[in-house]
């Protein structure tokens, strides 16, 4: 039986959202500070099939997704398309993984955590990949998404 505290135990003990597991930083949530209004494209590359996996989104200012304006949403592997685009105002954008188990939505417990990898994507202003695991002790990611951030196009002035 391992005595190494899991990431969620370290978050609880230290009241922080990062933990060191085997030399890697594991995040409870990843926050992006958007300097300007941005188009954020979230592409789901992989999702485990044992239970629905989701990517939760929280912002300090409302964003538009699927024609709706909200400040909190979750992209479920069983309902959302593989690629989703959202238009976010400048400000904070926080992402974390969730999963459904026995009818309830869980996050930040057990072996849950997110490892982030910056991606050198020349087609976007900024891109990163999130490798997330749910709380069931999986060694391989149960959710893998790529997030691309581009500046939102400025509205063209009316010619009239």
């Amino acid at each position: 039986m391992s005595t190494t505290p899991s990431a969620s135990e370290q978050w609880l003990d230290d009241l922080t959202d990062t933990a060191e597991i085997a030399g890697e930083t594991v995040y409870a949530a990843v926050t992006l500070d958007l300097d300007i209004d941005s188009v954020v494209v979230i592409h789901r590359r992989h999702a485990g099939d044992e239970r629905p996996q989701g990517l939760a989104i929280d912002t300090d200012r409302p964003f538009t997704i699927a024609g709706r304006e909200t400040s909190t949403a979750v992209l479920w592997s069983d309902t959302a398309p593989d690629t989703v685009e959202l238009i976010a105002s400048a400000g904070r954008l926080t992402l974390w993984n969730v999963w459904r188990h026995e009818g309830a939505v869980h996050a930040w417990i057990g072996d849950a955590g997110i490892r982030r990898v910056n991606v050198d994507d020349h087609g976007s202003d900024f891109a990163l990949r999130l490798l997330a695991t749910d709380g069931f002790g999986n060694t391989s990611p149960t959710l893998e998404v790529e997030v691309q951030v581009n500046a939102a196009p400025r509205p063209t002035p009316n010619a009239e």
């Binding site: 505290p5 899991s6 969620s8 135990e9 978050w11 609880l12 003990d13 230290d14 009241l15 922080t16 959202d17 409870a28 949530a29 989701g54 939760a56 929280d58 997704i65 699927a66 709706r68 909200t70 909190t72 949403a73 979750v74 992209l75 479920w76 309902t79 959302a80 398309p81 926080t94 974390w96 969730v98 459904r100 188990h101 026995e102 009818g103 309830a104 939505v105 869980h106 996050a107 930040w108 417990i109 057990g110 072996d111 749910d134 709380g135 069931f136 002790g137």
Partner: protein
């Protein structure tokens, strides 16, 4: 000079006042030195018992933590012995007060208490009585007869007492945690809490605070407060429990 002091100060009623004053001053000095001489007093708290937030929030969180711990012990005693305490002189009035206190933890919401589904035996003419869940807004749902007796971990959270009395909400919640303590989804710290009938906790990075899990008493499932909207379906996900 000494004689003058004795005559003027230590004479008559003055000697009594002087004696009392000296002792009061000595005790005040002693208390002040004891207070100042113990720099760790009141400061050490195990990490698991540390709470963030303002001073009133921390005080409320500590009060809640103590109440949760007490409620877990009382729920265990109720399961084992049918009473919240084994103290001599423990009577029905105290039992009712203890249950009220425990129920207050489950239902801290000041909103009006919703109508609860009633678990009981309902009978119709010529039909054998059925045990089921009765909700005025829904049709009667018969259920298999609920077992009676002393509840042990792994058994149905709604199991009745030996006398057929349904468990209180606090007892149901405690049983749910004990039943889920072996689930690998919860870390070791939470599993230990759950084995003792206490709710698991997590750190919410959005708020920077500890969160305590809740039980949906209609389904006896654990979950968390709050909702996350799914923009691709009409309904919202999350645990929207009426009673926690």
């Amino acid at each position: 000079m000494i004689q003058e002091f004795i005559d003027e100060v230590l004479s008559g009623d003055r000697v009594v006042y002087s004696f009392v004053s000296i002792w009061v001053i000595a005790m005040a000095v002693w208390i002040a030195l004891d207070w100042l001489g113990n720099p760790n007093r009141g400061r050490f708290r195990p990490k698991g018992d540390q709470f963030s937030g303002t001073w009133p929030e921390r005080r409320e969180a500590r009060r809640r933590q103590r109440a949760e711990d007490d409620a877990a012990v009382r729920a265990t005693l109720r399961d084992a012995y049918g009473a919240s305490s084994l103290r001599l002189g423990w009577n029905r009035r105290r039992e009712a007060a203890a249950i009220d206190a425990d129920e207050g933890l489950v239902r801290p919401d000041p909103r009006p208490i919703p109508e609860l589904p009633v678990l009981g035996v309902f009978s119709e003419a010529g039909v054998e009585p059925l045990l089921g869940t009765y909700d005025p807004d829904r049709s009667f749902v018969p259920e298999p007869a609920m077992p009676r007796g002393r509840w042990r971990a792994g058994e149905h959270p709604l199991m009745l007492s030996r006398a057929g009395k349904p468990p209180t909400a606090a007892t149901v919640r405690s049983r749910v945690w004990k039943n889920h303590a072996g689930n690998p989804m919860w870390n070791h710290t939470n599993q230990n809490r759950m084995r003792a009938g206490k709710p698991p906790q997590r750190f919410n990075p959005l708020t920077g605070k500890l969160e305590t899990a809740v039980v949906d008493l209609t389904t006896a499932r654990p979950g968390w407060r709050g909702q996350l909207a799914d923009p691709f379906v009409d309904a919202t996900d999350g645990l929207d429990v009426e009673i926690r």
